[in-house]
Structures are given as structure tokens and as C-alpha cells.
């Protein structure tokens, strides 16, 4: 009895996919499996300590028809430091599965996600973490609020567009994560949502995130964020305020692409200048990724795109805290790749 019921469900879903396929069959897009992702090599100097950080973050995309997608991102990061401060570089490579999920793109309003997924909280975790996207190669001080340290959940998620007009669109994501201790699938019991409204004429997005952490201590985390790319200026401003039991803080980042420089435009249009200001204030002693003392960081970045997928990145930040003020330098390169894993396509 159970098997026929499950079969009926699968049949319904298959019929749904078939109907949708017929609807979107007027282009030449191929749907082959893809290996994508980023490669980076960053030299970091923080407070006089030098660290070399090679990283490979492959993303595997396996389409099953046009409305079911299996996707996974792994992360291999090496952390190498000088032995005794001035000897040979030594260290180790860490690996992690950032996410491994199945997506069912049911319709505009509902995308069903199951598996290990990146926690949709604030602007950074889902969108700005990939090394080939990040303007600064270190995450903001408030990053662990709402994502803790793993930044992922194991369970289910619904996401999509609530409504969309030419003037605005409202998007959402809601999730539930179970507790898991399985290797590479570690997650805490959490539930939460993210909702944002986007105004395309002004290219302004405003959003909120909420998370109820249920495991073992029940705490709330909240975030409000804003993203703005004025249509006539190559400027990208993003800002976020986060709050939780362990701390509160904000970051604001502005990136300007020098594509409007009238001289040597082909050179300058590949260059971007960025600034980021961030502050975090611990509550209840901080912890779980939130610094234990008030910490501020301010700095700038200069990135240059040699090609659209290859860039040199550099940044300098000054970090202030009552314990110690330190300089944080980053210089290196990032490369984005997209490789089809199967011949064919239309």
C-alpha cells in the first residue's frame, strides 16, 4: 500500500516536470552536469603572523531533468604558517562539504531544498562567501551570528518568489534543520526564515533574517540588511546589522568599479576599489564565533580583473580592540571555473 502511494507521488511530480519542460523549450541552453567553483591563493598577514591559504572550492551541479538539481560544494583550504615564526612553512589542509542538496524547482513560488544547505541568514553566508565573489577575503566580524561556525543546516528548506511586479519583488526562504553529528553533515537544530524585497528601478534590496537556535540552548538571532547598486554608477553598497544572544554588530561595504575613468578605460574598468567598516559588541560574554571584547575593523581593498574569471585581490584592514590593535593584510588571486562534465547539449 505504501509503495503505490509513493509511486503515485513520484508520478505526479514527473508529470509536473514534463509539463514544465514543454513550457521552457524555446532556447538553446544545455543541461549537462557541470563542475564549477573557485580556486584561490591568499597570503595573509595578521598582527605580524604570516599565513598562506591556498583554497579550492569545487561546486558540482547535476541536473535531473530541468526542474531537479543535485548540487554540492566542497572546500579544501590549506593553512600554512612559518614554524617558530621564521622557519619553514608548515600546516595542514582542511576539507569540508559546505552543502550537498537536492533542489526541486517546483514553480516560481516554491523551490524545495533537501539535504545539507547553507543557512540563509543575512547577505553574506549564501551569496558573498565564494572566494571568486568576495571583495574582501575575510568574512565580517559578525559572520557567525545566525550561521554559528558551520554555516549550514541539515533538513529541508522552501524558497522562492512570493510576488513579482515590474516595481518590486518579494523573495523568501524558510528552513528547518535537524541536529546531526554525522561526519561532514554536522548541524544544529534550528529553524528560521529570510525575506527580502527588491526594487529593480532603484536596484535596492532590503531584507530581514530570523533564526531560532534550538540546540541545546534556545536563542534568537536576527539580521537586517540592505543592498544597493545605483543603475547609473558602478557602485555596490551592502550593509548588515546582526543581533543574537552572544553579540551584536554591523558591517558596511562599498565597492566602486573604475569603469567611468575617461583615460585608459580598458585598464581602469577592470579595477575595483572597496571599503569596509565593521564593529561587533559581545553580549553575555560573546563566544560561538563572536569576539569576547568590543572589536572594530576598517579598511580597503583593491582588486584587479585580469580576465572576467581571474583577478588579483588585495586588502588592508586595521583591527582595533582593547586587547590589541593589529594590521590585517591579504594579497593573492582568485579564479572561477565552469567546466561541462558531459558532451552534448543543444
Amino acid at each position: 500500500m505504501k509503495i503505490p502511494l509513493l509511486a503515485a507521488c513520484i508520478l505526479l511530480c514527473t508529470a509536473q516536470l514534463g509539463a514544465q519542460d514543454a513550457e521552457t523549450d524555446s532556447n538553446h541552453a544545455g543541461y549537462v552536469p557541470v563542475l564549477s567553483g573557485g580556486i584561490g591563493y591568499i597570503s595573509n598577514v595578521s598582527g605580524g603572523t604570516s599565513t598562506l591559504q591556498p583554497a579550492i572550492d569545487p561546486v558540482l551541479l547535476l541536473p535531473l531533468g530541468r526542474h531537479v538539481l543535485g548540487e554540492s560544494r566542497a572546500e579544501f583550504v590549506g593553512i600554512f604558517q612559518r614554524r617558530n615564526g621564521n622557519g619553514d612553512y608548515t600546516g595542514q589542509v582542511f576539507s569540508a562539504v559546505d552543502y550537498a542538496q537536492i533542489d526541486w524547482l517546483a514553480n516560481t513560488h516554491v523551490i524545495v531544498v533537501a539535504g545539507k544547505y547553507i543557512t540563509p541568514f543575512g547577505l553574506y553566508s549564501e551569496r558573498l562567501v565564494p572566494i571568486w565573489i568576495a571583495t574582501f577575503q575575510n568574512v565580517p566580524l559578525t559572520y557567525s551570528i545566525g550561521t554559528r561556525t558551520s554555516g549550514a543546516g541539515v533538513g529541508g528548506q522552501l524558497r522562492g518568489v512570493v510576488l513579482q511586479t515590474n516595481k518590486y519583488s518579494v523573495q523568501y526562504a524558510a528552513y528547518y534543520s535537524a541536529h546531526s553529528n554525522a561526519y561532514q553533515w554536522e548541524a544544529a537544530r534550528t529553524t528560521g526564515f529570510d525575506a527580502s524585497v527588491y526594487f529593480p528601478a532603484h536596484r535596492i534590496e532590503a531584507g530581514i533574517s530570523y533564526q531560532r537556535f534550538l540546540d541545546p540552548k534556545q536563542i534568537n538571532s536576527e539580521a537586517v540588511y540592505l543592498s544597493w547598486q545605483p543603475p547609473k554608477i558602478p557602485l555596490d553598497t551592502k550593509a548588515e546589522y546582526d543581533h543574537s544572544y552572544y553579540g551584536r554588530g554591523y558591517w558596511i561595504q562599498t565597492t566602486y568599479t573604475l569603469s567611468q575613468v575617461p583615460v585608459a578605460n580598458s585598464f581602469f574598468k577592470r579595477m575595483e576599489l572597496a571599503g569596509r567598516l565593521e564593529q561587533v559588541f559581545p553580549l553575555n560574554g560573546g563566544g560561538h564565533g563572536v569576539p569576547g571584547i568590543d572589536t572594530q575593523r576598517a579598511g580597503g581593498a583593491l582588486n584587479y580583473y585580469l580576465k572576467d574569471n581571474l583577478r588579483i585581490v588585495s586588502s588592508y584592514q586595521r583591527q582595533f580592540s582593547s586587547a590589541k590593535d593589529v594590521n590585517v593584510w591579504n594579497i593573492g588571486f582568485t579564479y572561477r571555473f565552469v567546466w561541462p562534465l558531459w558532451p552534448g547539449g543543444k
Binding site: L6, L163, Q171, D308
Partner: protein, 103 residues
């Protein structure tokens, strides 16, 4: 017998959700085929006129990253599916984007 029946109760929400999504979407599909409405969902209102592919690209993809200069048509469908999940694109935007990137 009661215990046996109760074992199947867990399947009821799954069936309802699947059937609900299927009927909701088939209704829209029927509307599109009859030419009464060009939007891909009842909530995508009539005032929502067709955008250009470049517009959709600049409004969605460029919020997070620079536009790639080249995308192989072989991988376009897969990449756009991935971005539909990540950027929560509507199906209408997905369709316009596919037409723009792999006409």
C-alpha cells in the same frame, strides 16, 4: 488494523503538497497556452511587462558578482538552474535569462 492505517498518515501531507504544487502550476500552464496571461504565475501581476535579458541579468546576477564574459551554451541551462535556486529567480526571469544567454 488501526496501527497499520496510522503508518500511512505520514504520507498524506506529502501527497497533498505534491498535488497542490502540480495543480497550481498546471493552472498557470493552461493560462499561458490559452494566451490569456503572459506571466508565469498568478501573483506575477498583469502590470509585469516583459523585461529584457540584460535587465534581468543586471537586476539579479550583478547583485552579487560581475557578469561573466562567456558562458558555454552547453552549461547555460545548468548554471541558470543553480542561480534560480541561489538568487531565488522567478520562472519568468529564468526563461528570459535562458533566452538572453543561449538564444
Amino acid at each position: 488494523m488501526k496501527r497499520r492505517r496510522s503508518r500511512y498518515y505520514g504520507l498524506i501531507p506529502v501527497i497533498l503538497v505534491a498535488a497542490g504544487l502540480w495543480f497550481a502550476d498546471m493552472r498557470v500552464f493552461a493560462r499561458q497556452n490559452s494566451g490569456k496571461q503572459t506571466t508565469s504565475s498568478p501573483s506575477l501581476s498583469a502590470e509585469n511587462t516583459e523585461k529584457t535579458g540584460e535587465q534581468v541579468f543586471m537586476e539579479n546576477c550583478s547583485r552579487c558578482h560581475r557578469p561573466p564574459m562567456t558562458i558555454s551554451p552547453r552549461t547555460t541551462g545548468t548554471i541558470v538552474m543553480h542561480m534560480r535556486v541561489r538568487a531565488k529567480l522567478s520562472r519568468q526571469d529564468e526563461r528570459i535569462l535562458l533566452q538572453y544567454l543561449a538564444p
